[in-house]
Amino acid sequence: MVSFEPSEEQAMVKETIAGFANAEMEPVMRDCDEAGEVSDDLVKTGWELEIISSSVPEKYGGFGEGPSALTGAIAYEELAYGDLSTAMHIVSPTMMAYTVLLAGTDEQKERLLPAFCGEEFKAAGAALVEPRYSFCASQLFASAKREGEEFVLSGEKCLVPLAADSDEILVFASGEPGAGFAGVDAFVVPKGSLDLIISEREKNMGLKALATYEVTLKGVKVPLANKIGADEGVDYLNLLSRSRLALAALAVGMMKRAAEHSRDYAKERVAFGEPIGSRQAIAFMVAKMFLEVDATRMLVWEAAWKCDRGEEFANDAAMAKNYAACQAMEVCDGAVQVMGGHGYVRDNPPELWFRNARAFSTLEGIAMV
């Protein structure tokens, strides 16, 4: 029967994370952005939310039964309500952990998962996006060729989070050029090879506190055992879709924060003898923000619900993500506009949300639900 009420467990997750996001993340959001660094303390506290270990089964070190996309979406929304960069840093390791969990062989799960269930934050990120204007997630140029007992990986990647701090990077590469989604596989690439070059930190418009890197693979050799899922490989479209839901859920959280900020400002700021929110030009903009936050969340929830039931959800996830990317930009643009000149200066958060929002249409593979 149709219901929009989260389960008790989801309500608890939501409340816990909302508390953390409000009390700890949001107050330092601006400082992190200016410094270009997340706060180690926050990452530590974020890790203690046990997002990954609560999804990993006991035999691999956790205490869960696999990730729930819906619960993940609820959690990520709350995290991003606090600060998007910090949220992405905290959940970036899900890309590798969940890929292994969902598609890995038993041996890979035993070998790789326990590290994601420890007390210490385990830095890890995925290399998916490639530095081309024509980049498309369905056509990866990075290639993987089998040579004897090894795979040889070549290509260029960008927007790889936490690459410098990670012991391994999860690289998505195409074994079969032209095969689209079906031809893509995932490889665990340990650091240390001279053929693996990690750039200086990227300089992006927004998400300044999130450390991302360009990664160049010049024929990096990895053992066969590092291809996730061995001969079966991974269901790349499924993983990509889960990661799209993660991004969409993160977008909802930031949009919600921006909408609430605009509402509060519109009630307080007086121009022409009235609160600016007393004029429809502003009031309708704020109303639309709230409407679209809800609309986007509904799209995310429905796709996540399908994902959890094992139904086909790739198209729904893609639509939810594109919708979220579009609305995030519109809502955050609105948040700047509602503040007028005050929205343009860095004393106030809207300009930061505005720069962050633009990322969603570009990003893929930052985290997974």
């Binding site: 029967m1 149709v2 009420e5 980049f135 369905s138 009630k267 429809q280 109303a287 893609a318």
Partner: protein, 409 residues
């Protein structure tokens, strides 16, 4: 509880049945009853009455549950409405049943009044209920309506003019129906003085003065009513006759309560029409070998891929927002904000979707040989009646900002 998007078996059953009916019975005659305005397919209307007996759209908002109770009655109504309007909006609006008049009785009447006025809809022949708020000088601003009701002995005497009354002719001329007329018993009292009255077919002093010719939903009659010393029995006032303190008066608040329940149903109508257009577009594209690549990155999409996936997402977002508003109704939660959001979104997106579909199919889209152009004309009404898109945004904004009418005009 748990987040769940799966309709109950019963609702799915109804959905499947109505879809088949829409496809087999409504689509084939949709054009005919668009071209021949003011005519109605009585055989279909009678048949539908036979199996619905006043249920359907008429039951909109009828099922108000106590908080926490589990029911899907309103959602089932919304889902079936989407299916019928997918078939044809004009004919669907012409079906017999309580309509908005019944919804008003349910929202504002006493138990005895509900018994007295609603039983007629379950008889053997179709009966129509209508509701008249709008006046020439009072549309969105319903509270400024001027029709008056004055007590004279054991009767109310109504004077004034109403326009755009959906199914007014059906209710008053073609069946033993009634129209719920909103009138003021104390013009100085503002909203608190506005009350709903049941005016029966054949009431002396009431006259149908005009039947509108319209852009779309042509099978549905829309009439003007004039009231000249129209006398109705004292007990035909719905709820109390007190110009009571705000908290107790169900009068004007009754309109709002009605809207909370009916707006999602209008949103469902809109979504049905929008879906018809989008499905037609997608099928035509598929037949022409145009493939929509959903999962590719947005920067690589063709214009048509972008349009189609955007429209799909918008339509789904509207439907889900609406399901939420109806779910709140089913579970006894206050839903004015959510109902307005849903109607605002649905009215706007289906207006845009139908227009876009016509555009994308070029000369085929514009041709009266197929139904697409009709859906574009039909869709537009959803952004107007039951509160225009702007009024929905106004209600949403007032809720969001916690601004009353005084602070946000």
């Amino acid at each position: 509880m748990m987040i769940d998007f799966e309709l109950s078996k019963k609702t799915k059953g109804a959905q499947t049945m109505i879809r088949a009916f829409s496809e087999q019975a409504l689509r084939p005659i949709a054009r005919e009853y668009d071209e021949n305005e003011h005519e109605r397919p009585m055989d279909i209307i009678n048949m539908v009455h036979g199996f619905m007996k006043g249920g359907m759209g008429g039951g909109a908002g009828g099922e108000r549950k106590k908080k926490g109770e589990k029911s899907e009655a309103n959602l089932r109504t919304a889902v079936t409405i989407e299916e019928i309007f997918w078939g044809d909006a004009g004919i669907a609006l012409a079906f017999g049943g309580e309509g908005l008049g019944g919804a008003a009785v349910r929202a504002t009447g006493t138990p005895e009044q509900k018994e007295q006025f609603l039983t007629r809809f379950t008889g053997d022949t179709p009966v129509w209920g209508a509701m008249a708020i709008t006046e020439p000088e009072a549309g969105s601003d319903t509270a400024s309506l001027r029709t008056t009701a004055v007590k004279d002995g054991n009767e109310w005497v109504l004077n004034g003019e109403k326009i755009f009354v959906t199914s007014g002719k059906s209710a008053l001329e073609d069946s033993d129906g009634f129209v719920v007329v909103w009138a003021t018993i104390d013009p100085k009292a503002g909203r608190a003085g506005i009350k709903p009255f049941i005016v029966e077919h054949g009431a002396p002093g009431m006259e149908i003065t005009k039947i509108e010719d319209k852009m779309g939903i042509r099978c549905s009659d829309t009439v003007s009513l004039s009231f000249m010393d129209c006398r109705i029995p004292e007990e035909n006032i719905l709820g109390s006759a007190e110009v009571a303190d705000k908290g107790k008066s169900k009068g004007f608040k009754g309109v709002m309560a009605t809207f909370d329940a009916t707006r999602p149903m209008v949103a469902a109508m809109a979504i049905g029409v929008g879906r018809a257009a989008l499905e037609y577009l997608k099928k035509t594209l598929a037949d022409e070998g145009v493939v929509i690549r959903y999962g590719i990155s947005p920067n690589r999409m063709t214009a048509i891929e972008r349009d189609v996936t955007e429209m799909e997402a918008n339509l789904k977002a509207a439907r889900l927002l609406n399901w939420r508003a109806v779910w709140m109704l089913d579970t006894g939660q206050k839903n004015s904000l959510e109902a307005s959001m849903a109607k605002a979104k649905a009215g706007l997106v289906v207006t845009q979707i139908t227009q876009k579909c016509v555009e994308l199919l070029g000369p085929i889209g514009y041709s009266r040989e197929i139904l697409l152009e009709k859906w574009m004309r039909d869709a537009k009404i959803n952004d107007i009646f039951e509160g225009t898109g702007q009024i929905q945004m106004l209600i949403t904004a007032r809720n969001v900002l916690s601004f009353g009418r005084d602070k946000l005009k």
